[in-house]
């Protein structure tokens, strides 16, 4: 296996064409996001949220898995205990964003704080994957990251409405594999990161640890624990 040289990484900057480029790079995730958002809208209606509450949650949270899990915990009316549970569940399901935001330090670090934190607010799995790929190609335009985020955010908010009003848009998303679309995108975007076997040692450790954790610890901890352990091991493997 040959090792590929790491492309030189550009300093961060902003551009209008970058916003469009980011939106374009979301294309593969548009159908999946639409179906996922509609499913959220349908579930929100069943759980007794008003349409404006359902849309507000999508607008302010923009976090698919966390919103769906939160609706499972939701009760009508809400008690203090339920609200505390919702906050905890949200933080746990989104804990992977903590790691994702850490990976963006080398890219967004040189930006003024308000710009860097503004860009980070658009993070979801798909935009982070798009960003990592773009960065691994040596790109520096932060607008690509934000453009991807704004495009998916608009679809995520808008597609919840037909889901809420009309019920299931696609009666059985599993039949078309849409339940797997996010993991498919994770796998596809993994390939451009390949830089040879040495770096893959940490990734293999991450995968094995995550697998073991997923059998022992309930919920979403396996991503965070696997990724942290894999990175620490990888950091101590000599180049």
């Amino acid at each position: 296996m040959t090792t590929h040289p790491q492309p030189r990484e550009e300093a961060p900057y902003w551009s209008l064409p970058g916003l469009a480029e980011g939106a374009r790079r979301c294309g593969a995730m548009v159908p999946g996001t639409f179906v996922f958002a509609a499913a959220y809208g349908t579930l929100a209606a069943q759980k007794g949220l008003s349409l404006s509450e359902a849309v507000l949650m999508s607008t302010l949270m923009f976090a698919g898995s966390a919103q769906l899990v939160a609706l499972e915990v939701w009760s009508d009316p809400l008690t203090l205990g339920t609200i505390v549970s919702l906050a905890v569940v949200t933080a746990i399901v989104n804990a992977r964003f903590i790691l994702m935001s850490a990976t963006l330090r080398p890219w967004f670090g040189p930006l003024p704080a308000w710009q860097a934190y503004g860009a980070l607010m658009t993070t979801v799995d798909a935009t982070w994957l798009i960003g990592m790929r773009y960065r691994s190609e040596g790109g520096g335009d932060a607008s690509v990251y934000v453009g991807a985020g704004l495009a998916l955010w608009a679809i995520w908010v808008a597609a919840a409405v037909p889901g809420y009003l009309l019920g299931a848009v696609i009666s059985d998303p599993k039949r078309f594999g849409f339940d797997l679309v996010l993991i498919i995108f994770f796998a596809a975007m993994f390939v451009p990161l390949w830089r040879g076997v040495r770096r893959a040692i940490g990734w293999a450790v991450a995968g094995v640890v995550a697998l073991a954790v997923s059998y022992v610890v309930p919920g979403w901890w396996f991503i965070v624990i696997g990724a942290v352990v894999g990175s620490i091991v990888g950091a101590f493997v000599d180049e």
Binding site: L60, I98, T103, G177, I184, A187, F190, I223, A227
Partner: protein, 103 residues
């Protein structure tokens, strides 16, 4: 704890939005306060792939053969032609086909 909270849905949404915001910025903030030694930099370079591996492998194990086929098709497609539109399309088609065959 068991009394209904006035405007509970609105308050819950705001609190969940804040919790999500916290996760989106805290790792970035933390890495700004850790000295960027070569070891830390190297760990940070490995982290993206480690996150992806940690998400993909347990979900394949949980979902089973259909997820394995879909991920395999996506990886192969990207190795052959580095186009994620084609990879996602082919992988969804493979998953649909596998499920239509009763897998």
């Amino acid at each position: 704890m068991n009394d209904a909270i006035p405007h509970g849905a609105f308050i819950a949404i705001l609190i969940m939005a804040f919790a999500t915001l916290f996760t989106r910025v805290s790792g970035f903030w933390l890495m700004g306060h850790i000295p960027m030694t070569p070891r830390v930099r190297r760990g940070l370079e490995i982290l993206p792939g480690a996150i992806m591996a940690s998400a993909i492998i347990p979900i394949i194990a949980k979902v089973g053969i259909v997820a394995l086929i879909a991920v395999g098709v996506a990886l192969l497609s990207m190795i052959v032609k580095r186009n994620e539109f084609i990879a996602v399309g082919l992988a969804l088609a493979a998953a649909s086909l596998a499920r239509a065959c009763g897998l």
